[in-house]
């Protein structure tokens, strides 16, 4: 199996690339700008110039060197476009055939998660348990209005639209134990700010063991992980 890159790694590499290009371009332009302001400033009340009012002055003709700058910009910008296409397509398509599928349904105001275990649906609300080091595919839809499901850390999100199912994937970290927050990113009503869910990463082997053991086992496992997590929050100051 080919190594699956994590979504956030891809995102950060693109981000770095855009930032580098931006710094080169915008930085150059800003430096020229600053230099010109400094170099051609007028000190004191020196108030003479050959431009008289009562005439229309249309333009200062362009020099060849500025055209060069344009070509340069064009090349950088176009290469940004090309560079981002591959990444985009990679992020759009779930990279592994064996992705673990979880259904996500947005509602006012919360997230419902459904696992399919042996044809039976196991539902949790407000929290989801996922195995470590696995490609997870979220099938996202909405029961009422427009929501957007996403994780800040994984740098992915997808709209939850009524009547349509969209898909989004992440690759969970290798080490279990982290808890990530899923947010809603589209204003969906007065409780929008409260549409936060927890994604708890557990050990891959434990997870699939429970999963293989059948619906009853799995439900207990999930509920236990979630209630343990919630209890740990209560304990904290």
């Amino acid at each position: 199996m080919v190594e699956v890159l994590s979504t956030d790694a891809i995102w950060w590499s693109l981000f770095t690339m855009f930032t580098a290009a931006g710094l080169i371009l915008a930085g150059t332009v800003t430096l020229i700008f600053l230099y010109l302001i400094y170099r051609y400033r007028v000190k004191g009340s020196e108030d003479k110039d050959e431009l008289e009012p009562g005439r229309i002055y249309v333009e200062t003709p362009a020099k060849g060197s500025s055209r060069l700058l344009l070509v340069f910009t064009g090349i950088i910008v176009l290469s940004l476009i090309v560079a981002t296409f591959d990444e985009t397509i990679y992020l759009e398509r779930t990279p592994s055939e064996e992705a673990f599928v979880i259904w996500v349904t947005g509602f006012q105001f919360g997230w419902q998660f459904d696992y399919n275990v042996d044809g039976e649906t196991i539902t949790t609300i407000g929290a989801v348990v996922v195995p470590s080091d696995t490609v997870i595919e979220f099938k996202v839809t909405s029961r009422d209005v427009f929501h957007t499901f996403g994780f800040a850390e994984f740098k992915v999100k997808i709209d939850a639209l009524p009547g349509i199912v969209n898909s989004m994937w992440i690759k969970t970290p290798e080490e279990p134990g982290e808890v990530y927050k899923a947010y809603c990113y589209e204003l969906c009503g007065i409780g929008h700010s409260l549409m936060v869910a927890d994604m708890i990463v557990v050990d891959k082997n434990e997870f699939f063991q429970a999963y293989e053991a059948g619906p009853q086992e799995f439900r207990n496992f999930i509920n236990q992980v979630i209630s343990e997590y919630r209890a740990s929050l209560q304990g904290a100051p």
Partner: protein, 818 residues
């Protein structure tokens, strides 16, 4: 005694502002009103920034927070930014092109009063028990449907948006016709100042972008009040709204930006004492950006999960559009090269705006990548980016323009120290408010609470910045009031600038210039009297060698031999129509009697309007010496064609809704697939109506022929024929609708018939309007007002009927046949 006199003066003062049609007055009205809206929206921003500094508090949460955010966004964009630019444009475009006024002064006043009415409608929402609109300025479906948001505040805002679109469309007609046909002799397109150019591009953008918004708002309103389900059913729904809204929404950002950029360009060039560097590049850039701006709207839909290749195309165009803006920025910056830069207040604001633009622009490029947008969409990165553009660039551009033109508008100079304080506070405020938001870019926007500790400090910094910015606005107000009351008198041309608005008094007289400004071939500006201008040929004029004409020297020029006083006609009718629409739309939401009163006022205003029209009170030909190439020397014809372009977009939006719904796979699952038209509709009746439609247009063509030839009988017969056939068309339509409802194909049958009712309903309204126009034209004929020389007034109606017929050539087959 003194009291009565004061009262008399007060009424005269009020009446003057209610009845004025002078472009400078209207410009001031626009600016003052929009600044008023700006303060409302600004205070709202300070309120929710306060909440964000203490996220655990209950200061402003839930519904109240969302009302504040939504109204802030809506008002800032639609009722402050665009109208403020419209105010500047009103004041300065005629001056910069050497015209006496806009092409249609009375329509201009109407635009203003409709704009004011629409803004009041939105604000009135706060009085509603369920509060103002709270669904975000983007008004995403289906949250806006009545099931989820029953508040009448939404209806008020939606009607406000629709009314504003109408006002904007009227403005675009006015400005485009003015600039196309009323430029001073010798003032070619290329010589127009950048500000005027930016208004041209803005108007073109508005012309094509606002109709989809108007259609979207209208559909949303009927969804909420009549029971259609375009945006509430997933068969249309979220994605349909997204398309209509963002087709408007993206060009809207350039609508906001262009006027400020144009002003910045003129200001930079004035104070660097250099003509603009490579103006032709800047114009090319604006032109490319205008076209591309209609090809990028789907970057607001990158995470909708729709077709990947469509989105990739829009990703490509979005990143591409950064090139023209880079081009324009570089040209602006190179204007400084070899300049003699003077750091006046307007120049400081303009330079700071360019800085902010570089930052705001390059952080926007990220959002053009679908992959990066997956991280950024709906976060504070977006908020920071667009505020760097809107506040850092646009608003700073407006401040620059305000200080630049303040002496011209008021005849007074402002206090430099106060203005400098404003500049310093504003610059600190803006950067402190919005830069921290880049750092916490993971934070979702439109959240009134959060419990991530790292976000807290940055939010508090940001809030501090917004307070400083708020303070700077108070300083700005003081500066302006101080300047008005205490400022020293301003000379004609305090900046030694070289565009036309500086070649007249400060403030300019009602007729703008004494005599006709002429730009000679060697680039001088001379003034000639209207008589001389009328008598001379264009080449004589622009040669600059006419006898008796003084070249302009320095600050004052000798008044030409004679200039007749142009009395500016006043009219209260635009105000009446504004009040009428406010009452009618408000009544539509809250109360039948107010609605009836509103309609009565509207009818009264319309009657008065047409009466004046019939008496030619506002009729003014375009003087033959003005530049009009490549447009016909006719206000009416140009105006009508601009209107037609907006109509194309209105029906185009409906048509796109039709195709969207028809091809949406969700609809096919949800209800029965769209049935072939002939199963629901009677093709025979459709064909009959098609024939009626074609024949009525033929009949009107005959009427036009009659008027051109001076054959009054033919003209009369033709118009009567059109009126008869048009009415027949509507009657047939009425029975068709009735039968559909009787047969169970009413509104509850599904989107297929709802789309039919929408399309034929809007078309029917157009037919009705055409009937009114034709009847009125017939009146003019009877009143002896039409003749071969004035046949254009008939051609205008023929052009109108043409578009009504064209629309029908699509409606008939698409609904009846396939």
């Amino acid at each position: 005694m003194a009291g009565a006199e004061f009262f008399g003066r007060l009424t005269r003062w009020i009446l003057r502002w209610l009845t004025t049609t002078n472009h400078k007055d209207i410009g001031i009205l626009y600016m003052v009103t929009s600044v008023y809206f700006f303060f409302i929206a600004g205070v709202l921003a300070l309120l929710f920034r306060t909440q964000l500094a203490m996220p655990a508090s209950e200061f402003l949460t839930g519904k109240a927070y969302y009302e504040a955010v939504t109204v802030h966004g809506l008002i800032m964009l639609l009722w402050f930014a665009s109208p403020f630019a419209a105010g500047l444009a009103n004041y300065f475009v005629p001056l910069q092109i050497g015209a006496r006024d806009l092409a249609f002064p009375r329509l201009n006043a109407l635009s203003y009063w409709l704009y004011l009415a629409s803004g009041i409608l939105v604000i009135l929402g706060f009085l509603a028990e369920a509060g103002a609109i709270d669904v975000g300025w983007t008004m995403y479906a289906p949250l806006t449907s009545k099931d989820f948001t029953p508040s009448p505040g939404v209806d008020l805002a939606v009607l406000g948006v629709a009314l504003l679109s109408l006002s904007v469309t009227i403005s675009t007609i006015n400005f485009l016709v003015t600039i196309a046909t009323m430029r001073a002799p010798g003032l070619s397109w290329f010589k127009l100042p950048m500000f005027t150019w930016s208004i041209i591009f803005t108007m073109i953008l508005m012309l094509y972008a606002f109709p989809p918004l108007m259609v979207g708002a209208a559909i949303l309103w009927i969804d909420r009040n009549i029971g259609t389900e375009f945006f509430s059913s997933p068969a249309g729904g979220a994605l349909l709204w997204d398309h209509l809204f963002w087709f408007f929404g993206h060009p809207e950002v350039y609508i906001l930006l262009f006027p400020a950029l144009g002003a910045i360009a003129d200001i930079v060039s004035t104070f660097a004492r250099r003509p603009l560097y490579a103006k032709r590049y800047i114009l090319t850039a604006f032109f490319l950006a205008t076209i591309l701006s209609f090809l990028v709207w789907m970057h607001h839909m990158f995470v909708t999960g729709t077709n990947l290749y469509t989105r990739l195309f829009y990703s490509f165009t979005t990143i591409l559009i950064s090139i023209p803006f880079e081009m324009a920025t570089v040209s602006l910056i190179l204007t400084l090269y070899k300049g003699k830069i003077r750091f006046t207040i307007p120049m400081l604001f303009a330079l700071a705006a360019i800085f902010h633009f570089i930052l705001g622009g390059s952080t926007g490029v990220y959002l053009g990548s679908i992959a990066l947008d997956k991280g950024f969409r709906g976060t504070y990165w977006v908020v920071a980016h667009f505020h760097y553009i809107l506040v850092g660039t646009m608003l700073f551009g407006f401040f620059a323009a305000l200080y630049y033109w303040f002496p011209k508008i008021t005849g007074k100079m402002y206090n430099k120290k106060l203005a400098l304080l404003h500049f310093i506070l504003a610059t600190i405020g803006v950067n402190l408010t919005f830069f921290p938001q880049f750092i916490i870019f993971d934070m979702p926007r439109r959240y009134f609470t959060y419990d991530v500790p790292e976000w807290l400090t940055f939010n508090q910094l940001s809030t501090l910045g917004s307070y400083i910015f708020g303070l700077s606005m108070i300083v700005a107000l003081i500066t302006i009031v101080h300047g008005l009351l205490r400022g020293s008198p301003a000379p004609e041309n305090p900046w030694r600038a070289w565009t036309l608005e500086w070649l007249t008094k400060s403030p300019p007289p009602p007729e703008n210039f004494e005599g006709v400004p002429v730009v000679t071939n060697d680039g001088r500006v001379v003034f000639v009297s209207e008589e001389v201008a009328e008598k001379s040929s264009r080449s004589e004029l622009v040669s600059g060698k006419l006898a008796g004409v003084q070249p302009l020297t320095g600050a004052s020029h000798a008044a030409p031999s004679h200039s007749h006083a142009h009395s500016h006609p006043v009219s209260i009718d635009p105000f009446i129509l504004g009040v009428g629409s406010l009452l009618a739309l408000f009544g539509l939401v809250v109360n039948k009697f107010i609605l009836a009163a509103g309609i009565a006022v509207l009818a009264w205003g319309l009657y008065r309007w047409l009466r004046d029209e019939l008496n030619d009170r506002f009729h003014a030909e375009i003087p033959k010496y003005l530049e009009t190439w490549p447009f016909p020397r006719s206000k009416l014809r140009n105006g009508m064609w601009v209107f037609i372009a907006s109509e194309v977009m209105v029906f185009g939006s409906i048509l796109s809704a039709y195709f969207f719904i028809r091809f949406n796979p969700v609809g096919k699952v949800l209800e029965e697939p769209w049935p072939p038209g002939y199963m629901i509709h009677d093709v025979g009746i459709g064909i009959i109506n098609t024939m009626i439609m074609f024949t009525s247009t033929l009949s009107f063509a005959m009427a036009y022929l009659g008027v051109r030839k001076g054959d009054n009988i033919l003209a009369q017969l033709g118009m009567i024929g059109t009126i008869f056939l048009g009415s027949l068309f509507l009657i047939v339509k009425y029975f068709e609708w009735k039968e559909l409802f009787a047969a169970g194909y009413g509104l509850d049958w599904g989107l297929a018939t709802q789309t039919y009712f929408l399309a034929t309903g809007v078309h029917g309204l157009h037919v009705a309007l055409g009937l009114l126009l034709t009847t009125y034209t017939l009146f003019k004929l009877y009143a002896g007002r039409l003749g071969p020389q004035r046949s254009e007034e008939v051609l205008m109606v023929a052009i109108y009927w043409g578009i009504v017929e064209i629309v029908w050539t699509f409606i008939f087959p698409l609904f009846y046949l396939v």
